[in-house]
Symmetry: C2
Subunit: 356 residues, 2 copies
Amino acid sequence: MPTWRDNVRKVVPYVPGEQPNKKDVIKLNTNENPYPPAPGVKKALDSFDYETLRKYPDPKCSKLVSAIASYYGLSEDQVFVGVGSDDVLAMSFLTFFNSGKPVLFPDITYSFYDVWADMLRIPYRQVPLNNRFHVDPDDYIGDCGGIVIPNPNAPTGIAEKMDTYEKILDGHPGVVVIIDEAYVDFGAESVLPLIDKYDNLLVVQTFSKSRAMAGSRIGFAMGSPELIKYLSDVKFSFNSYTMDRVTIDLGTAALSDRKYFEEGVNKIIRTREWTKKKLKDLGFEFGDSVSNFIFARHEGVSASDLFEWLKSEGIYVRYFDKPRISDYLRITIGTDEEMEIFIEKVKTYLTMHGIG
Amino acid sequence: MPTWRDNVRKVVPYVPGEQPNKKDVIKLNTNENPYPPAPGVKKALDSFDYETLRKYPDPKCSKLVSAIASYYGLSEDQVFVGVGSDDVLAMSFLTFFNSGKPVLFPDITYSFYDVWADMLRIPYRQVPLNNRFHVDPDDYIGDCGGIVIPNPNAPTGIAEKMDTYEKILDGHPGVVVIIDEAYVDFGAESVLPLIDKYDNLLVVQTFSKSRAMAGSRIGFAMGSPELIKYLSDVKFSFNSYTMDRVTIDLGTAALSDRKYFEEGVNKIIRTREWTKKKLKDLGFEFGDSVSNFIFARHEGVSASDLFEWLKSEGIYVRYFDKPRISDYLRITIGTDEEMEIFIEKVKTYLTMHGIG
């Protein structure tokens, strides 16, 4: 006899990185920013009038949209905001990938792409990165239902030159191409200037990493007014009021302090380069990360063993038990002090195992 | 030549009630609560540490889920939370209504149901309310892909007796039945006790109305652990971190003050009953609303004319240009003072037009 269970959309959900409850943990596992949000965010929080919570927020989030547009030199109709870039990306999959043809994304990439595709019954094909973990535009030639590539890619941290993305765009005027720039502020070149040339290019960014506001859930997309309009229509057909009043205010405040933002990003870049040097000295290999994490392996070390041992020592990094990357660890860049402790711990592990 | 536009999910989005920017407006158009959230919400806001925003929120919103479960005497695996009840309902449509058979809901009801169904390509059939705007369970007999009914219904404000919903549930063990209780706290009887008897019953509620937190975006669903598990899996496949850190804290705080909540609801009920009496004296007709709004018409008055005139006088109510209800206005219950001004204005209008 048929039951209601027969018609449930059954999925294997995305598993986010652990959020340990323990104190005194060094958390290098979810690419969070080790520094607080801009001081203006605190001011905005302090001056927020809780009585206004009785009223719905502005469904268009105009204040925040306008601040983003002005920050990036765009017009407001080129900006879409959502509850984190995951929300923006999920809405984009729902809006743009309806051809029935496979959507293309790298085989090693953000682990949510195949989850969204599976959940929304969108066919997809994973295009292998080359053996140095780079995107080769020639691999993307041919008919498809859309393309999603992170710039820089995750979990590799590697970015491509602008002309790689341009080649892909030139080959695909008939589908929407999403460039997911969650980590772009840490050293990659944004493809944002290309949105004026390609009306099918959607650039997605987030406040979760470089703006240290993962806890606020703010993501945004930039593209041609036509793309943004279609995306907004679907969003308004899903949930009119996604972003709460407090978050709209805090996000707007965060954008008003360009100096704090740039200094914070530069601190993380310096710490990343220091960590790269130390890891190299210890015999680790990794691509040229321009993000706030390093994706590294060591010939003499089992990544999963090191991952478990670090965890037992109170240091959380990320391990993916997946083809091609199961000997790698993804290490988020924390404060200088955290990275010094991390490096010391890794040294201890290597010594314990007679390596190095 | 095919373009990317060919594969866009094109939709006619839901249009939320106006959010006028003007000051000194009496806003009786979006069923907001005229009173502020519980004082504990202010305390939670004041003590929120903005530095924690750098970290992702708890994806399971455990603190809030636990507070809701404890408030309603449930276990945590019977509770799901989302970004407003619209988010919960959209996720539920996506999760449960995949049979290809039409989903049933009243012809006069929350105007988002057909928007979700259209957007998600779910077939549906609108079941006419009877001529007194009540739900007749006999009209729901027969094969279908699921059922959604608000208790009380919107925009009528009318609730049914428990046995109406039980009859519908008894007739449909093979599909998920959603009872949307956005307005239940203003005088209707919740079907929540039925979730132990029917594992296919999902009860959806919100903090936007009775808890005066529309600006925070908190909705929740209660049902059997199996239903909740399926819904959570889809949510985690759409967006792992939907609710921001501030909102989780504020929502949890709101639940700790049962007395403030009950007093607030009772104030609104008293004002509603006063408003009903006044409207009746002025010749308006309406069903027995047990919500925080009244859905009323007047034989001698064009609803759309009155709507426009009230707006020009700074009073916003809601008008739906739809079959069967185009001679009605939906009037949210504001403060006593707001409702007195509203009644006076309506009197003026009637006098101007030689009525009453």
